[in-house]
């Protein structure tokens, strides 16, 4: 003989909360088993009675008195709060401004970190990309910069840059070139002079 449905499952079944995969078998058993059917109906009757009791209001309820008691309780709570920590009258900063201040601080921190750590070549490359995007938004057309080699000659020396890599050849940390020159074929030269011996050293970088 088949076992009856457990009390717990039967109560959940009567409330309509039994899982979908157990519901068909339970329903089949309850429809054929008089014992379980009776129990299920008893559970349903109890639920109905509880709902009716919950909907009934206490007799002689005085709404005005209830509202007054609630107001009084709120005032008591506020007074108690004043006793614990007197209010200074300081206006609280709106949440939006707090978020903006936090974002500004975080942005400043990121900019500082970038400025301290990021190589100038990468910063310049990002700047050019941002500038190009801005120009594009002004809708004058855009020619994108590719990742090909770039050769630069400055008063500080010559440098080759490509794909985030860079190569510079100088004649000492504190040496400044006396002349720099650039070739449109993708090379650059910097000329250094040894202050003691007069020996000339010319450093070059070549893109290819």
């Amino acid at each position: 003989m088949r076992k009856h449905v457990t009390e717990a499952d039967l109560a959940v079944y009567a409330a309509g909360d039994l899982s979908w995969w157990m519901r068909p078998l339970t329903h089949l058993h309850v429809s054929r088993c008089a014992v379980c059917k009776g129990r299920a109906e008893a559970y349903r009757a109890d639920q109905q009675r509880i709902r009716e009791l919950a909907n009934e209001l206490p007799q002689g309820l005085n709404w005005d008195r209830l509202a007054a008691e609630m107001h009084a309780n709120i005032h008591v709570g506020l007074e108690a709060g004043e006793c614990v920590a007197p209010r200074t009258g300081r206006r609280s900063i709106p949440a939006g401004w707090r978020m903006a201040a936090a974002m500004a601080g975080f942005t400043a921190l990121l900019i500082s970190a970038w400025w301290l750590n990021m190589p100038a070549a990468q910063t310049a490359s990002l700047g050019r990309a941002m500038k190009a995007i801005t120009h594009w938004q002004i809708s004058r057309g855009l020619r994108f910069e590719d990742s090909g080699p770039l050769v630069e000659a400055t008063a500080a020396g010559v440098e080759l840059r490509e794909n985030g890599s860079a190569l510079a050849v100088t004649h000492g940390v504190n040496s400044k070139p006396v002349a720099v020159s650039l070739s449109v074929q993708g090379s650059a030269r910097a000329r250094y002079i040894d202050s003691d011996t007069g020996q000339v050293t010319i450093t070059s970088v070549y893109a290819q």
């Binding site: 050019r128 090909g148 000659a153 080759l160 985030g164 860079a166």
Partner: protein
């Protein structure tokens, strides 16, 4: 001769904790502090270096110093500062007047090379001399492989104008031009001393010193075959400085200008000599909106230009200046010519005695060397130096 070593550089570490993380004010600080300070620390990084001189090279390695080098992490990149000082001996039977060493850092700048040249040398057989250079290498951390620096001999120029070396960087051509300029300028100063006396030589050296100090400084970049400027483009014609004795005459020229960028120069030149020209270089002077002029670049061209014929030079490249610069005008001049027989032409001192050229074109390396000797040791030292040649 081959020398290979590996240099260990600094050490340090960034520790990343494991386990559960409670995000609080303290935790946020713990996360942000490495952003600023933690990137200064770096992992163990070593740099391989190799010095490669052919067995029959006219120079031999006496010693090499790689001290004072450093490696750091900045942002997402390794920054390597490599200081190299080589001591070389002239193992040939001729006097060395110039040397070029190629510096290869393949992992650092793909396809890129560097070189260190020393012109205006006069090294007798058996004598030693030094070559010094600093390399600054930057590469993304993600590049993976260990950085490697290789120093090769590219060429040696002797006093009889003969050349030794693989010449992968065309150093023969550049060293020949420097040597011809050195001979021209030494001859000029010697003649000045003999014909006009010590005071005239001193006056000329002081004038050169003054021009050096007044020469405009500029920043310029070159990129091949592309441009990023969004300003409207227009054509600007070249003006030319014509040298009466030059074997090649510039006839016409134009470049596309957009704001601070000039690109795709097109030039027409005419060979008025009786010899075939195989290479020439033009100087490209740019004038900005404030009337300032500076030597922006040289335009080299490999060609085969028969006598009495013309040819067009087209370079698919762009020059980019400081963003505040607006290009208003351009001037070109022939700065060197190489003939098919390997001989060269360079402008004479008389031809270079043009107000614009004197202002913007740097003097030869030899003139700068003599001026430095004058500044450091005085006129007598310069006269003694001139007597050596």
């Amino acid at each position: 001769m081959r020398s290979r070593r590996s240099l260990p550089y600094g050490r340090g570490s960034v520790a990343i904790g494991r386990g559960s993380v409670a995000i609080g004010r303290g935790s946020v600080l713990m996360l942000l502090v490495p952003l600023i300070a933690g990137a200064q620390s770096f992992g163990q990084q070593s740099l391989d270096h190799r010095i490669d001189l052919p067995h029959d090279a006219p120079v031999s390695l006496v010693g090499d110093e790689w001290g004072g080098s450093a490696a750091n992490v900045r942002g997402g990149a390794f920054v390597l500062d490599v200081r190299v000082s080589l001591s070389l001996r002239n193992s040939s039977q001729r006097r060395i007047h110039g040397i070029t060493l190629a510096v290869l850092a393949q992992e650092t700048a793909p396809g890129g090379k560097g070189s260190i040249s020393v012109p205006s040398l006069d090294v007798a057989p058996g004598e030693s001399f030094s070559v010094r250079g600093d390399l600054h290498l930057l590469r993304p951390i993600s590049a993976g492989s260990r950085p490697m620096v290789e120093v090769d001999l590219d060429g040696v120029l002797f006093d009889d104008m003969t050349f030794y070396g693989p010449d992968k960087l065309h150093s023969r051509r550049t060293m020949m031009v420097w040597e011809l300029e050195a001979r021209r300028d030494r001859h000029y100063f010697k003649t000045l001393l003999e014909q006009a006396g010590r005071e005239s030589l001193q006056k000329e050296l002081v004038a050169s010193l003054s021009r050096d100090a007044d020469r405009p400084q500029f920043n310029v970049q070159t990129v091949r075959g592309r441009a990023t400027n969004t300003d409207p483009e227009h054509d600007v014609q070249f003006a030319f400085l014509r040298f009466p004795e030059a074997p090649v005459e510039p006839m016409d020229g134009v470049a596309r200008i957009a704001g601070n960028e000039a690109r795709t120069p097109k030039l027409v030149v005419h060979n008025r000599s009786d010899r075939i020209v195989r290479y020439l270089e033009m100087g490209w002077i740019v004038r900005d909106q404030q009337g300032r002029e500076f030597l922006a670049a040289s335009v080299p061209a490999e060609m085969r230009l028969p006598p009495r014929s013309s040819s067009q030079i087209l370079q698919d490249a762009a020059l980019r200046f400081d963003p505040r610069t607006s290009i208003e005008g351009m001037t070109g001049f022939i700065s060197s010519v190489e003939f098919m027989d390997g001989s060269f032409w360079i402008p004479s001192r008389v031809e270079l005695d043009d107000p614009t050229l004197r202002r913007v074109v740097a003097p030869s390396p030899e003139e700068q060397r003599l001026v430095q000797i004058y500044r450091k040791k005085g006129l007598n030292a310069v006269i003694e130096e001139l007597k050596k040649f």
